[in-house]
């Protein structure tokens, strides 16, 4: 009998331990996913911050550039650089046949002409002399240099030919290939060529959308929260508004995209693909988040504050505007930042309103067509070229760091400025 009891107790204790283990492994799994996730993004993305350059001697031959003696600055600006650019690539292998010459040309980006021009504009004395110029390598060679390219594939299955690899290896052996920090990733707009593509256009698109979103959502949400928390009578209509807000917070984001498409674009005829429409759509989405946060922080202001103000003869409006609202601001602001961080990461509604269009200029105002960072991730992730994979990860790293900064900021505001009532 006693032994039986002990067995039973042991069994129960074991069950207890098992249950505890389940809990621990659940937490462990969740954290494991997070780690794998971040590791994967960083390991594929960090290389995009480096860019491969070929160092090629360029002969600035005035005759080939159709320049007279003593050219003015304007002449240099207008000169023909294509010939000398071609010649300098062809000179890498003087014995190349026509097909090979073509392959040589494709070892650098199609920007190579402009890069040579920049060099001469910087120093016009180079005219007639030869100088080694840094040229952006094609995205495939960039990947080869970073060791991401499957060189052992059969030649007909890869875009880099054996010939190009041979020349490239020679250049590497001579120390004429260099990897430098990829500034153009941050300053260039999107491009069809992976080696030239940058995030400047989508970054500005995101900034404009978020600004529009902030300018609409923040005032409306704060005013709505003040009304609902401080002034609204308790009746069916107020209940209805409340149900509406809670529901909107859980409506799938793509439905807001349909709203933007069906109302903002089709009825109000606002310009397609612009951060203006994107921002308005996102503001409708963040509205409930900010209202809920603002109401919570208004609710946290103790009634004694209101009673004291009222007792001093302030009107209800004065009490609210001079005392309750300022005291609730830290909570409201941190809620707003979190809402904006959500909006910054949103993709689906922006795709529907056309912010997925290919934009190769940097937008200067919310009325110019633009993409946004998450949409850029989507666009690049869908393209087949190998060079875009690391760009996607790098873009994700930029996006995530913004989200982290925003969330930290929200935390700081909350902890530093929020008054603790006890």
């Amino acid at each position: 009998m006693n032994k039986n009891k002990e067995q039973l107790l042991n069994k129960r204790y074991k069950a207890e331990q098992r249950f505890r283990l389940y809990g621990q492994s659940a937490i462990f799994m969740a954290l494991l996913f997070l780690t794998i996730f971040i590791f994967k993004i960083f390991s594929t993305g960090y290389s995009a911050f480096q860019k491969t350059w070929l160092i090629v001697p360029v002969n600035f031959d005035a005759e080939l550039m159709m320049l007279d003696e003593n050219p003015t600055k304007q002449d240099i600006e207008d000169a023909d650089y294509y010939e000398i650019a071609l010649q300098s690539m062809w000179n890498l292998d003087p014995n190349a046949n026509e097909d090979q010459q073509n392959q040589l040309k494709r070892m650098v980006s199609y920007f190579f002409e402009r890069e040579i021009k920049q060099e001469l504009l910087k120093d016009p004395n180079l005219l007639g002399k030869t100088k080694e110029v840094y040229l952006t390598a094609s995205d495939d060679l960039d990947q080869v240099f970073k060791g991401n390219y499957p060189r052992d594939l059969p030649e007909d299955q890869r875009r880099v030919s054996d010939y190009q690899l041979k020349i490239f290896d020679q250049l590497v052996a001579n120390g004429n290939v260099e990897s430098k920090f990829n500034i153009s990733f941050f300053t260039n707009a999107d491009s069809r060529e992976a080696e030239l593509a940058g995030i400047a256009s989508s970054f500005m698109g995101s900034i404009f959308s978020i600004l529009v979103c902030l300018m609409i959502a923040f005032p409306v949400a704060v005013l709505a929260a003040i009304y609902l928390e401080e002034f609204a009578p308790k009746n069916r209509f107020t209940d209805f508004i409340e149900v509406n807000i809670n529901n909107l917070a859980a409506v799938p984001s793509i439905v807001f995209g349909l709203l933007g498409l069906g109302v903002l674009l089709a009825i109000f005829q606002l310009p397609r693909s612009t951060p203006l429409v994107g921002g308005i759509t996102l503001s409708l989405m963040t509205l409930p988040t900010i209202i809920i946060a603002a109401r919570a922080s208004l609710k946290a202001v103790p009634p004694s504050i209101r009673e004291a103000a009222l007792a001093m003869g302030a009107s209800r409006m004065q009490t609210t505007m001079h005392h309750t609202v300022p005291l609730s601001m830290p909570g409201t602001l941190s809620g707003t930042i979190i809402g904006l961080a959500q909006a910054l990461g949103e993709t689906a509604p922006l795709i529907l309103i056309g912010m997925v269009a290919f934009v190769n200029t940097i937008p200067g105002s919310p009325m110019d067509p633009a993409a946004s960072l998450p949409v850029q991730i989507y666009i690049w992730a869908e393209s087949a070229e190998r060079g875009f994979v690391e760009k996607v990860s790098a873009c994700i790293m930029v996006l995530l760091s913004f989200l982290i900064i925003m969330n930290l900021f929200a935390q700081i505001i909350r902890h530093k400025f929020e008054k603790k009532w006890s």
């Binding site: 129960r12 204790y13 207890e16 249950f19 505890r20 809990g23 659940a26 937490i27 969740a30 996913f33 997070l34 996730f37 594929t44 005032p219 409306v220 949400a221 005013l223 709505a224 003040i226 009304y227 002034f231 508004i241 149900v243 509406n244 529901n247 909107l248 859980a250 409506v251 799938p252 984001s253 793509i254 439905v255 807001f256 349909l258 709203l259 069906g262 109302v263 509205l287 209202i291 009107s315 209800r316 409006m317 505007m321 990461g345 949103e346 993709t347 689906a348 795709i351 529907l352 997925v356 998450p374 949409v375 991730i377 989507y378 992730a381 869908e382 990860s393 995530l400 989200l403 969330n407």
Partner: protein, 461 residues
């Protein structure tokens, strides 16, 4: 021009605030008692100065283009033009008046361009005149009221109250906007495709509806068997089911562990770390699913001799499940912590172990809240877009094999609406009809879930 006028009104508003306040001080200096604080005099004057002007200004901005268009096109009435042709003429007119017209200039269009320009300039100048006179009239009225020292605080506060109330209508307006944008296209869609075919049809192939000559009239028989949404609905619920299979056990167990077992130190670090998962944008999950999980599953399957699609439902659903873990864990954590301590104490006093207490006492007590949080998770899974668009297939297969690719409502909406849309095309309308069904399904789930959670909260308050 509009911007200048706008800035002007704003500046006038600010100036009148100072004038109003100054007036209050002059009244005060005559030893009269003020009816409100001096700044209320200022607010009163500023509101009267700016608000009527703004109302006129915005009404003008809304109606001016329509009226000008009507007047310009008036010349072309009775000439038997179709609406589309008239619109084209108007576009040409506007282009010509901007000097951007490239086509052949006919005298007709030239005449209407001139008319357009003159109408526009008349409209502009009359707008300025009317707005200015409104400002003068309303400021004069308000100034008289101030001078006679009548009440200013009450009207100002009433106005503010009205502004607050209007802002609170934004949520309702958004809901109305959603329904409004969905319903017309949906109704049009069901005029062409019978509701029955949509709800019970098993072939979804919207691309077929797009390949048609625009000169052909709409022929409903062409669309039979192209818009059967059963595979889409099935795919949506299937992927959501896979996601919940991942999210419920992990989310629930970590919620329970954090609430009942974890020391405050573990809780302090583990909780925010898990919540990071909720803050990661879904497009990032989509990339992860498409680039890492999909190929990994395919390789794993091939090594076990299974046929796995690179865009399997399992990859999309699994990654979606990871995304939902933090929702379920933090919601159930909240729910479990709000179960009163007395229930625990009672159970311990009877000799129950911690896990027995959780399983037999706390879990049943917290069940409604947990169900609510799971429903919210399901609603999120159904509405999730980017993961499915990027990681699952776009072809709508009717299958229950998690290793094949399926498609969902959200993915189909994106596929149909990406790029240029022609409103009036059944394919575009189909996307809105799908959006409507998505909205209705998630609405029901949300209402039920929020009700359940609210009821539960009230129980222990």
């Amino acid at each position: 021009m509009n911007l200048i006028l706008f800035t002007f009104i704003v500046l006038l508003g600010f100036t009148s605030y100072y004038f109003g306040r100054k007036k209050a001080y002059t009244i005060q200096s005559t030893k009269k008692r003020l009816t409100a604080l001096p700044q209320f005099y200022g607010y009163y004057l500023a509101i009267w100065c700016a608000i009527p002007a703004f109302i006129i200004f915005s009404l003008w901005a809304i109606f001016e283009p329509t009226i000008v268009k009507l007047l310009v096109l008036n010349d072309y009435s009775n000439q038997g033009y179709l609406d589309d042709e008239l619109n084209l003429i108007y576009e040409k007119t506007k282009a010509l008046s901007r000097g951007q017209f490239t086509g052949e200039i006919t005298p007709f269009i030239e005449a209407s361009a001139e008319k357009y320009l003159s109408l526009r300039s008349i409209a502009q100048s009359s707008k300025v005149v009317i707005v200015l006179s409104i400002i003068i009239a309303s400021v004069a009225y308000a100034y008289k009221r101030i001078s006679s020292n009548s009440r200013t605080r009450e009207p100002v506060e009433k106005f503010l109250n009205a502004v607050l109330f209007t802002a609170s209508l934004a949520a309702i307006l958004t809901t109305v906007g959603i329904v409004f944008s969905l319903i017309f296209q949906t109704i049009d869609f069901f005029k062409v495709i019978p509701l029955f075919d949509f709800v019970f049809g098993t072939h979804w192939y919207p691309a077929k509806a797009f390949v048609r000559d625009s000169s052909e009239a709409l022929d409903p028989s062409m669309y039979s068997d192209t818009f059967g949404a059963v595979p889409i609905f099935a795919g949506t619920f299937f992927i959501a089911f896979i996601a919940m299979c991942v999210a419920i056990p992990i989310g629930l167990m970590s919620g329970i562990y954090l609430a009942e077992y974890a020391s405050s130190k573990v809780r302090q670090y583990a909780k925010p770390l898990i919540e990071i998962l909720a803050g990661i944008p879904t497009v990032v999950y989509g990339f992860f699913a498409a680039l890492t999980v999909g190929p990994f599953l395919k390789e794993l399957g091939t090594s076990m001799g299974l046929e796995v699609s690179a865009e399997s439902a399992l990859a999309a659903g699994g990654v979606m499940g990871i995304m939902i873990i933090p929702f379920i864990s933090s919601l159930s954590d909240d729910v479990i912590t709000s179960v009163p301590q007395s229930l625990r104490d009672g159970s311990y006093a009877m000799g129950a172990t911690k896990s027995e207490t959780i399983k037999r006492v706390i879990f049943p007590a917290a069940l409604p809240g947990i169900v609510g949080s799971i429903l919210l998770g399901v609603s999120r899974a159904i509405g999730e877009t980017m993961i499915v668009v990027m990681a699952s297939g776009l072809a709508a297969n009717l299958t229950l094999n998690p290793l094949e690719s399926t498609s969902t409502i959200t993915a189909q909406i994106v596929v149909i609406l990406i790029g240029d849309q022609a409103f009036g095309d059944p394919k575009t309308q189909a996307a809105f009809a799908l959006g409507m069904s998505l909205f209705l399904v998630t609405l029901c789930l949300n209402i039920v879930a929020l009700r359940v959670v609210k009821k539960y909260r009230e129980k222990y308050e």
